[in-house]
């Protein structure tokens, strides 16, 4: 999905005003996810787990080169092939070359945000290859030709009624079919796709350097089939997804599941160790792991933003975010939305491209409390805001107003005068005509100031 972030304000307004069902669906789903996450955190010493996970990822990120080399060696020792992709174009080319080499006509996919990031599906389709998204939510969106709006629940912005209509139309289900019936219909289509697919493509939740193991968490079994049925399995893994040791994986599988869905662990955990050992054994004939950078090393060397690379893509920050809940993910304009998107996208795309996402937050801090790897999202948002101000990417009037505030607030007599003039002499009413405060007052009644300021009351004596 191509980035088109610039008009976030317009898209969020349209989502809120013209598609109230999105807000209802997203709020309902995320509130439920968030409650499950809180309960699951409450069952363990979540604070300790999170601090441990933060430390492991910090160690990994400060020794990333060493662990990447180790992972490559272990993967190859297991019989997997390792590819390095600097950018999205290289990642696509590698997959297309593999597809061509294996005469692939049909691909099944497990849910992967990285394949969205590198825009893999359109490239495969242009090459004449049939692509089936096999995660139920992703499958729904593929039928609708929409990108995912959430890292874990890609179709959470859809209502049951919308899916009922879609499936009645495309899969000839009963228009009032319950979720089980709808899932059965999708399974019917996807079962054939699995059997006929020449290649399975997945992402990877983790890649253990010590053992060369790609780990995948899921609840539907579709990833298990994607990694084991087709002749060729290709896993695209972001370079930040490594873990040093197998023993780290045990903790991260549980913590990620608790953060994402409130489960103690996902229903299916697939550990991909390489291809089938011998002809006739279960598993693919070839396993390819593509290690994708696509801007991550730029983020890694950034003074502040590197902390966002700890992200395990659990979606907990989206679920708890009151800003995300109003609009869902599409308003953000790129593959990573919500709080983590607002700090990661400026790093991956460049700040200019990602404006105004660092400002799409009230800095309420709920995301940090939810994050299993303690990414200080509010602090990172502030760091990006500071860069945006320094680079002149914000409205000059805003910068001038705040510089003016600092000039006034460091001169007490001037500050007192400005306060009296500002609030007493009908400035609130005049504000309606100002470009920025005008919008504020369309949605809210303007406050009227106290009849006497506190300073006046203090001078007169408070009884």
């Amino acid at each position: 999905m191509s980035a088109r972030i610039g008009d976030y304000a317009t898209r969020s307004r349209e989502a809120i005003r013209n598609h109230p069902e999105v807000r209802t669906a997203v709020t309902g789903a995320t509130v439920a996810f968030d409650e499950k996450r809180r309960r699951a955190y409450g069952e363990v010493d979540a604070d300790l787990w999170r601090r441990w996970a933060e430390a492991v990822k910090n160690h990994l990120l400060t020794h990333l080169g060493d662990y990447l080399v180790e992972a490559e060696a272990r993967l190859e020792a297991n019989g997997a092939h390792v590819h390095w992709a600097r950018g999205a174009d290289e990642a696509r080319e590698i997959v297309l070359e593999l597809a061509s080499r294996h005469s692939v006509r049909s691909v099944v996919k497990g849910k992967s945000m990285l394949t969205e990031e590198v825009e893999l599906n359109p490239a495969l389709e242009r090459a004449g290859i049939e692509v089936y998204e096999t995660d139920l939510g992703e499958y729904i969106l593929q039928l609708l030709d929409e990108p995912p709006s959430h890292i874990v629940g890609p179709a959470i912005h859809k209502t049951l009624e919308q899916v009922q209509r879609l499936f009645a139309d495309r899969l000839e289900t009963d228009p009032g079919g319950d979720p089980d019936e709808l899932a059965r219909a999708a399974r019917g289509v996807l079962r054939d796709a699995f059997i006929n697919a020449d290649m399975g493509i997945t992402g990877g939740n983790f890649l253990v350097a010590e053992t060369g193991t790609v780990a995948l968490i899921e609840n539907e079994g579709n990833i298990r089939l994607t990694t084991s049925l087709p002749r060729v399995h290709v896993a695209l893994v972001g370079i930040e997804k490594l873990l040093p040791r197998m023993s780290d994986l045990a903790g991260f599988l549980q913590l990620t599941s608790r953060a994402a869905t409130g489960q103690s662990i996902g229903c299916f955990v697939s550990l991909v160790q390489g291809p089938a050992a011998a002809p006739g054994d279960d598993g693919p004939e070839e396993v390819h792991v593509i290690l994708v950078d696509n801007g991550r090393t730029d983020v890694l060397v950034h003074e502040h933003a590197w902390e966002a690379l700890r992200c395990v893509r659990c979606g907990a920050c989206l679920n708890t975010c009151p800003v995300y809940r109003q609009t869902g993910g599409h308003a953000y304009g790129w593959v990573y939305s919500g709080p983590i998107g607002s700090v990661l996208d400026p790093g991956l795309l460049g700040l200019h491209e990602a404006m105004p996402l660092p400002f799409a937050s009230s800095l309420c801090g709920a995301c940090f409390d939810a994050c299993p790897v303690r990414i200080p999202i509010p602090e990172l948002l502030l760091a990006w805001r500071e860069e945006a101000q320094q680079q002149g990417l914000t409205p000059w009037k805003e910068r001038a107003a705040l510089a003016g505030l600092a000039n006034v607030a460091t001169r007490p007599p001037l500050y007192r005068l400005a306060g009296r003039v500002g609030t007493r002499l009908g400035a609130a009413r005049a504000a309606r005509k100002l470009p920025m405060l005008g919008d504020w007052s369309n949605d809210r009644s303007l406050p009227s100031p106290s009849p006497r300021t506190f300073r006046q009351l203090w001078r007169e004596g408070i009884k």
Partner: protein, 258 residues
């Protein structure tokens, strides 16, 4: 104890009575209240906008103004957080020591009463009142005042009615409500739509009240908002005529104004 009041911009101009109630409350609790006249804005608008140089100038001014105060109390969780949590990040080397020292001596009002004075029972002036508590983000997640405001209200006899969105951001966020006005208003709607039937909503932050009250009035919700300082002074001063439930809009039309 000598306590300096840091009134904050919004309380000075929009919640003057709540600020006065803060003084009354502190005096009632045995504190001698001073009001350093050179105080201005804490600098949070600039800090949140990413203008840290400007924010630092305001921080240093504030640090000078309150340098010799034994304790500093603010009727705002957000501005208290600016001083306690963000000044130490802003200040360079030597002033950092000064910032840390000021942070240690600075308190949000409810925080000061419960944590510094060790008081949770102020009187029973709120007996029979059903109130909802809007937990301001900074007070809750930066100052970790998870139980203090509710404890004070309940200690005064109020029933703090469970509210699903009690700890959710109201959508104010200063500049955020101006830049992302539609999302901000939708966030206020979520708060208002989930609000249980209560006599009033109490909040320790004027900014949240201005935003929620402004949204509530334009939608005709008829919700009454009361600043925490005013609610707590009611707890003490139960005898005064016009009851809390009759005051609307954060006490701006409250006692002493007429």
């Amino acid at each position: 104890m000598k306590v300096a009041l840091f009134v904050t911009c919004l309380a000075d101009h929009y919640f003057a009575e709540a600020a006065a109630d803060t003084v009354r409350l502190l005096r009632h609790l045995g504190c001698e209240v001073t009001f350093p006249d050179a105080q201005t804005c804490c600098g949070q608008p600039a800090y949140n906008a990413g203008m840290s140089r400007e924010a630092a100038r305001m921080a240093h001014h504030t640090m000078d103004v309150f340098a010799d105060c034994e304790a500093v109390v603010l009727p705002s969780g957000s501005c208290a957080t600016m001083v306690k949590r963000f000044y130490p990040r802003l200040a360079a080397s030597n002033p950092a020591v000064q910032a840390a020292a000021l942070a240690d001596r600075t308190f949000e009002l409810g925080e000061f009463i419960v944590r510094r004075l060790g008081v949770t029972r102020l009187g029973d002036g709120l007996a029979g009142r059903r109130v909802a508590l809007h937990q301001g983000c900074h007070a809750l997640r930066e100052l970790r005042l998870e139980t203090e405001p509710a404890a004070l209200l309940e200690g005064a006899g109020a029933e703090v009615v469970p509210w699903a969105a009690s700890d959710e951001c109201c959508g104010f966020g200063g500049l955020f409500s101006v830049k992302m006005t539609d999302v901000s208003a939708a966030m206020a709607d979520r708060k208002l739509d989930t609000l249980p039937r209560v006599d009033c909503v109490v909040s320790g932050d004027g900014g949240c009240i201005l935003h929620l009250d402004g949204r509530s009035r334009i939608r005709g919700c008829g919700v009454k908002f009361v600043h925490l300082a005013t609610a707590l002074w009611r707890a003490v001063d139960e005898g005064v005529g016009d009851g809390m439930a009759e005051r609307d809009h954060g006490g701006r039309h409250g006692r002493g104004n007429g």
